[in-house]
């Protein structure tokens, strides 16, 4: 592993100031450290943001659940308040990776990294999340811009993620047996005005499947999407699953999620 300078700022302003084109924020480190070890990334400065107190914690109101950026997956999974307000979100967090990944990995790191097979981005999309940064609020639909890409600018820090509380929701994932990342994951949310079906793992970045969402908005039952054939032309094909298989899994897991709602 190449050397770097390790910084532990106590405030967001200081963290943001330290950032450059050759730096990374360190939250759980569950992506950053393995990438450094494998030489996939090198940085001059590693800026640990875990000592910034205001970035951690969970707030639940009637209409929304707000999770601080450095809140760990294990904390979200174990939160009684999240379990009550959005059980699907607690379940999603509790199925990320393994116990040790969940004891370190954070929601801010997960969405900022925007791995095409990460779980949280699908919840953000389906639950109309607002991403609070140190300079603005970004809607989830504008935040995830492409494979490992987000709308974040240099030095911009995610402070919290605010989810709308849905009427019902569920997340179903077909995990990669080695890493537990989603080969595909489907987050179905029945919100007041519409149903959102967000899909991760299938394409280069998370997306809302318009067909499935429309059909379920007009009738929220698994029979309304029974046997639906999805276009697989833009879907990923790799050693784990062909694009045709992924397309089939997406409609199957969307059905499962609706039935579990």
């Amino acid at each position: 592993m190449k050397t770097f300078n390790y910084h532990v700022p106590k405030a967001v302003k200081e963290a943001s100031k330290l950032a450059s084109t050759s730096s990374a924020f360190l939250a759980g480190g569950m992506t950053t450290i393995p990438s450094l070890k494998l030489g996939l990334a090198t940085y001059k400065d590693i800026i640990d943001i875990k000592s910034i107190k205001k970035l951690s914690g969970i707030k639940v109101s009637g209409k929304s659940v707000t999770i601080g950026a450095t809140t760990k997956h294990a904390e979200v999974a174990a939160s009684k308040e999240v379990q009550k307000a959005i059980p699907a979100l607690a379940k999603l967090a509790g199925n990320i990776g393994d116990a040790q990944v969940r004891n370190r990995g954070t929601i801010g790191g997960s969405i900022s990294n925007n791995d095409p097979s990460a779980c949280y981005p699908s919840a953000c999309m389906a639950l109309n999340a607002t991403i609070h940064t140190n300079s603005r609020k970004i809607s989830a639909s504008k935040f995830f811009t492409g494979m490992f890409e987000t709308a974040l600018k240099k030095g911009e820090l995610v402070e919290a993620v605010e989810f709308e509380v849905p009427e019902k929701a569920d997340y179903q994932k077909h995990p990669n047996p080695a890493s537990r990342y989603a080969i595909i994951g489907v987050f179905v949310a029945k919100n007041k005005k519409e149903v959102n079906v967000a899909v991760t793992g299938a394409k280069s970045s998370v997306y809302i499947d318009k067909d499935l969402s429309k059909k379920l908005t007009s009738s929220f039952s698994s029979s309304s999407i029974e046997g639906i054939k999805l276009d697989h032309s833009e879907m990923n094909s790799d050693m784990h699953a062909s694009s045709e298989y992924r397309a089939n899994l997406v409609s199957l897991y969307a059905k499962k999620a609706v039935e579990a709602c």
């Binding site: 592993m1 480190g29 393995p34 070890k37 875990k50 294990a74 990944v101 370190r104």
Partner: protein
């Protein structure tokens, strides 16, 4: 360089470490605690699991400087006064190991499970050990060991 102070297996240690030193490297190379194993480059095998402030984490994916001020327990810290920890006894009794490479991580991970869940079901044990890979045993006896230990802890 950063000066870090940790409590490792009940003993205070203070050392200067290069900023990019991994906790696994610090334990093995600086403290000679080679019970913590390193089995992969991808944070997936779990051989390196130790406890930091009571919670199991992967020491291969954590910077030593990041946990400055924490309490660390490694596999060497489980036995007390020459007596094996109940989880170690259970692995021995049920043949929960063959080559033993994965065992330190398995044991540390399983101890963490029993701290949070007194009587886990077989399913819960298997799910919890998701991040610990064993190339030898086929897991049956590992699960049996954790079950056995759960009646003793």
């Amino acid at each position: 360089m950063t000066k870090i102070t940790l409590e490792v297996n009940g003993k205070k240690v203070s050392k200067d470490v290069a900023d990019h030193t991994l906790l696994s490297v610090f334990l093995r190379d600086n403290l000679n605690l080679t019970g913590t194993h390193v089995g992969c480059d991808t944070s997936q095998c779990g051989a390196c699991v130790v406890h930091v402030n009571g919670k199991s984490i992967k020491s291969c994916s954590t910077l030593a400087a990041d946990i400055d001020g924490s309490k660390v327990t490694t596999i060497e810290g489980l036995a007390k006064d020459g007596k094996l920890h109940p989880m170690q006894e259970a692995f021995k009794k049920t043949h929960g190991l063959q080559c033993g490479f994965c065992t330190p991580g398995m044991v540390m991970s399983a101890v963490d499970l029993l701290q949070t869940k007194k009587n886990p079901s077989e399913q819960e044990i298997r799910e919890w050990l998701e991040g610990n890979i064993c190339r030898c045993t086929g897991y049956q006896n590992i699960v049996a060991a954790v079950k056995e230990a759960s009646t003793k802890m």
